[in-house]
């Protein structure tokens, strides 16, 4: 079993819709949770970061972590065609000399 599971999609939604992207993880030691966005033929870029359980909002993006159920979510409101990309969730136990554990990524397409 992978430590981080993510539905690969693809996911297609109309412009303006609310998008929900999700991951589950198995190791309760994970404390830091990230979402990366990766455009085609580019490297991943950090989109959101949260520590422990709770919500974090940044513009149209909301990251949510439920440690009790080991569930990570990213919500995109008022989705735009420019949001079309692959979204990768990632987790880490501690900052410092630690490696990230990634999900496989979900390919999202926003249809104009």
């Amino acid at each position: 079993q992978k430590e981080v599971e993510q539905d690969p999609g693809p996911l297609s939604v109309p412009e303006g819709a609310i998008v929900s992207l999700n991951c589950t993880y198995s190791n309760s030691a994970f404390q830091y949770f990230m979402w990366y966005r990766q455009y085609s033929r580019k490297g991943p870029e950090l989109l959101m970061y949260t520590y422990s359980s709770g919500n974090k909002e940044d513009g149209r993006f909301t990251a949510q972590v439920d440690k009790s159920s080991k569930y990570i979510s990213l919500f995109i409101r008022d989705s735009q065609p420019s949001d079309s990309a692959t979204y990768l969730c990632a987790t880490m136990k501690n900052f410092g000399n630690e490696k990230l554990t990634f999900g496989t990524g979900t390919r999202l397409t926003i249809i104009p």
Binding site: Q6, G43, Y49, F95, K99
Partner: protein, 114 residues
């Protein structure tokens, strides 16, 4: 603004060739990482380094080696390239300062081994 650069965007090599992939970061980060990314498998860690001349195996180190002679530069070496090493290779760097910033990625090198 953090910048991670990789020596080539696209590379085509033949089976058995020795391949060098170079990565340079300009933010004085202590940590550097090499991943490969394949459809359906996501990002898999090959090697990482916490300091100069220091290296640690990741999840899939077989067939690869690394070199970190300077803090800003981390090289991935394929001693004898094989077709199953055709992939997108991504380099990343991060700081150990424990702030909210995490790994910064380069643009990737798409390697094809014929």
């Amino acid at each position: 603004d953090v910048k991670v650069t990789q020596s080539s965007r696209y590379l085509v090599k033949r089976t058995g060739e020795k391949v060098f992939l170079e990565c340079v970061q300009d933010m004085d980060h202590e940590n550097m990482f090499w991943y490969r990314q394949d459809p359906g498998l996501g990002l898999r860690l090959i090697y990482f380094s916490y300091d100069v001349k220091m290296k640690e195996k990741g999840d899939i180190p077989e067939g690869y080696s690394v070199s970190r002679e300077k803090k800003e530069r981390f090289s991935l070496i394929l001693e004898s390239a094989s077709t199953n090493q055709t992939s997108m290779y991504l380099c990343a760097s991060s700081s150990i300062s424990g702030d909210t910033d995490t790994q910064y990625f380069g643009p990737g090198t798409r390697l094809t081994v014929l």
